[in-house]
């Protein structure tokens, strides 16, 4: 019986996920075609006006644009099932190879960003909640407001300019170093963009923490624990924070999912060859297969992160396990 329930739940999730991914695929396909121009005009610009019809036909057939839209869609979809994500004429690499290079960069950036955001956001949230409407709460709120309202591109450009001006350093001006090739330089290149992103993402985490902590603190069991003389620190960590973890996890999972979509602006400013730039360059060059496949990969990542978050609830909260 239990097995059946588990199976049906997993099946349901799987079906929902596949439905979502198919929806994303269709949507991206349609949206890309709705953008004026195609790969020929993207590559040749106005020189495409000088192409003869025969030249144009040769190029359209080279890029596979001469097929009807439905054929284009299903041949791309069919190729996905054989592991062929498409080919980038610009980079002269397959989308799988491109993604194998760019996805680790984005995942690394996302992980460092989330760690920094948690380190900054959770303590700040707890500090704010420890004495609501006090000066320290006000300070926490101001920091959070700044994090939410200062655009990442402004902070990114400014931080980079300051570091270059005052220390004569710009690690991101050097050729990009992979974590496996040169970990030290790689971390130097990651820390500034991750810090800038974390400043923005710590804000919602801080606010969520503050609200959750205040909410839990008002609960009866906390009063009981206090009455029983449980030390304050233990109440904070063991009773309040543990219970507040569920909303914090939800918020963190959501932000992590967004980060895996690629922080395009930050990747641009700090010259990180991540997945966001892969999509952006794909759109600029109208490389349909690159954009479609990459966005599908991002969507898969998002679905997986959501699934992982759900599983984390079971670890964190025994009540979920009991369901």
């Amino acid at each position: 019986m239990l097995t059946r329930i588990v199976h049906s739940s997993i099946t349901r999730r799987l079906v929902t996920a596949l439905g979502t991914l198919f929806g994303v695929a269709v949507l991206v396909f349609i949206m890309l075609r709705a953008i004026p121009g195609d790969q020929v005009t993207a590559q040749f610009g106005i020189e495409s006006g000088a192409l003869t019809p025969a030249q144009r036909a040769a190029l359209e057939s080279y890029y596979g644009l001469d097929q009807p839209l439905l054929v284009q869609f299903f041949s791309w979809l069919g190729n996905l099932f054989t592991g062929n994500l498409g080919f980038s004429a610009r980079a002269h690499l397959s989308v799988a190879e491109l993604t194998a290079q760019s996805l680790p960069v984005t995942v690394e950036l996302a992980v460092i960003t989330i760690v920094l955001s948690l380190v900054l956001g959770v303590p700040l949230g707890m500090l704010s909640a420890s004495k609501p409407n006090s000066a320290r709460d006000g300070l926490g709120q101001v920091v959070a407001l700044a994090g939410l309202s200062i655009p990442a591109f402004l902070l990114g450009s400014s931080v980079m300019a300051w570091v270059a001006t005052f220390w004569g350093q710009n690690p991101n001006g050097q050729a990009f170093a992979r974590l496996t090739d040169n970990p030290m330089l790689n971390l130097q290149q990651m820390i500034l963009p991750a810090g800038v992103l974390a400043f923005g993402i710590a804000a919602p985490i801080m606010r969520t923490t503050r609200t959750a902590v205040l909410d839990i603190r008002a609960k009866d069991f906390i009063r009981t624990a206090r009455a029983k003389g449980v030390p304050k620190a233990r109440i904070q960590m063991r009773h309040i924070l543990t219970n507040a973890l569920v909303p914090i996890t939800t918020m963190t999972g959501l932000q992590f999912g967004y980060l895996l979509g690629g922080a395009i602006v930050i990747e641009q400013i700090f010259s990180l060859p991540g997945i966001g730039r892969q999509v952006l360059v794909g759109i600029e060059q109208k490389e349909y297969a690159v954009v479609q496949s990459t966005i599908l990969i991002i969507a898969v990542c998002f679905v997986l992160v959501n699934l992982l978050t759900d599983m984390l609830y079971r670890v964190i909260d025994p009540r979920v396990r009991a369901l």
Partner: protein, 520 residues
């Protein structure tokens, strides 16, 4: 319209704010860099790192149109003829050439000892195969229309190429200097070259990391003076402000900007030397004389008279540029004052509007692309404000660059603010727009038998003085009929750190003088 992808990634605000941030604290001293220091014991011209905002979009020279791609192809491949720094045609792979008396035959004598990067010889068979393939529609080479006067290509011996022409073509030698007519080995295919370029240029491809960098190494098989640099790395840094900070910290030694603000911040904060270079490309308000009120010459003249070009230049581009007439190539340059309204004249504008029966004013739809180049929208707004004072209400349509190019190609606009690429030869620059058979004539929206006749004469004349006079006449016709309103040419700014020497920027944006550049 010039294709420059490197400006369109981020809003101009990013660059401007970042530049201000750099300017705010410009006291840093550039630190020395490891990347430009050769390993000890090697005799070396050094390794130069150039900051560029976008990656190449192809490694195949016959299809290269984007700014950065053309620059890279320029140093990898060779052409029959070349330009010198003043854009005069000089020998390339062809050492000399003879023109027959009837000017219908052109014989090239190829240089001996020209080799491709893979070590194989470049002979007349490669030249013939290249020119034949470029002219073949199936290749989809962009230079095909420029070689339309060639009837046949013969290679009587390994060092000679004979072109039979359908009619004399004064612009052909210049066309053959374009990198879109690069000479490729007859054994190579587009597929192979996109992986491994194999040209006769001063450099060869060493390594490519898509979206990160492209590194070239000196080609020791090059026929001319060998390049001084060991390697040139085009490092992709999508944001111009980030390039400035990379120069400041010594990671990048050279970059070409087209935004004066960014160039200024490179000069002050990164202590870079800036070389200003007037471009062939021109900023223009294209009028479509086949549409609505613009079919009336008086309306077009009223627009010409109501626009102060200097004011557009000052307000949109900080005055960094020169007011221009139609022809921008140095040898044929138009006199900017030779037009019905050399200066802004609102009375005359009102008079022309009266003649057109529009004394109460009219409405003009103007399209402009956002982000394609730094000044586009500012130019459009300046024009809008100026025309408003002449009772011409401008409705601006600000379009994403893809949408803009689509409508531009379809001639689906009344007026368009554009940055059009110039060419060293005026025939190449304008015959495709203003002859009735030109492939962009629909976009230009204007042609006349008189212009057709003049372009034909200009193309067939081999007398420089006569050609200059002909293109002057063409220029006057275009201005007298207010076909378009030519505004200004701007500068590019080549920023180099103090240890870079010998680089010469060119008006056509070519980076061919990387071959004479060295770094200490």
């Amino acid at each position: 319209m010039l294709i420059r992808t490197h400006k369109k990634h981020l809003p101009a605000a990013v660059a401007a704010i970042g530049a201000l941030a750099v300017l705010a604290g410009c006291s840093g001293t550039p630190s020395s860099t490891n990347s430009s220091t050769p390993p000890p014991g090697t005799s070396s011209g050094g390794n130069l790192v150039i900051g560029v905002t976008s990656d190449v979009d192809t490694l195949f020279p016959w299809k290269a149109t984007q700014f950065n791609t053309v620059n890279v192809m320029q140093v990898l491949y060779g052409t029959l003829t070349e330009y010198d720094q003043d854009l005069n045609v000089v020998p390339g792979i062809a050492e000399t050439w003879d023109v027959s008396d009837d000017r219908l035959s052109l014989t090239f004598h190829l240089r001996s000892g020209v080799k491709f990067a893979d070590g194989s010889d470049c002979d007349s068979a490669d030249v013939k195969s290249s020119l034949d393939k470029i002219r073949d529609e199936a290749t989809a080479a962009v230079a095909r229309s420029q070689l339309s006067s060639i009837e046949s290509v013969e290679a009587p011996d390994a060092a000679t190429i004979v072109l039979a022409l359908t009619s004399p073509d004064a612009g052909l030698l210049s066309s053959l200097a374009s990198i879109n007519t690069a000479i490729l080995s007859s054994d190579d295919t587009e597929e192979v070259l996109n992986e491994t370029p194999n040209g006769t240029g001063p450099f060869q491809l060493k390594e490519r990391k898509p979206s990160q960098s492209l590194t070239l190494a000196r080609n020791d098989n090059y026929w001319g003076d060998k390049a001084k640099l060991d390697t040139v790395e085009f490092r992709i840094i999508p944001d111009e402000t980030s390039i400035v900070t990379a120069m400041q910290s010594g990671n990048v030694q050279m970059s070409v900007f087209d935004d004066p603000l960014v160039a200024q911040s490179a000069a002050t904060s990164a202590n870079a030397t800036i070389q200003e270079q007037t471009q062939l490309a021109y900023h223009v308000l294209q009028l479509n004389a086949t549409k609505g009120d613009l079919t009336d010459i008086n309306v077009r003249l009223a627009i010409q008279c109501a626009i102060d070009r200097q004011q557009v230049l000052d307000s949109a581009a900080l005055g960094e540029g020169q007011v221009t007439g139609p022809v921008t190539s140095p040898a044929f340059r138009s006199d900017p004052a030779a037009r019905p309204c050399p200066e802004r004249d609102l009375d005359k504008a009102a008079e022309y509007l009266g003649k057109a029966g529009k004394a109460d004013g009219l409405t003009l739809k103007v399209m402009v692309s956002s982000g394609e180049y730094a000044t586009s929208v500012n130019e459009a707004q300046s024009i809008q404000a100026q025309l408003a004072e002449a009772k011409i209400t401008v409705e601006l349509e600000v379009l994403e660059s893809g949408a803009y190019v689509d409508r531009w190609l379809a001639a689906d606009f009344d007026a368009a603010v554009a940055l059009n690429g110039g060419r060293p030869d005026p025939d190449q620059a304008y015959s495709r727009y203003f002859t009735s058979t030109g492939n962009l004539n629909a976009v230009a929206g204007y042609s006349s038998p008189e212009l057709d006749d003049l372009f034909a004469k200009g193309k067939s004349s081999d007398n420089d003085a006569e050609r200059k006079q002909i293109y002057n006449q063409i220029s006057n016709i275009l201005e007298d009929n207010a076909v378009w309103v030519w505004l200004f040419t701007s500068f590019t700014y080549t920023a180099t750190t103090s240890n870079v020497q010998g680089y010469i920027p060119m008006a056509n944006d070519s980076m061919q003088y990387l071959r004479t550049t060295s770094i200490n």
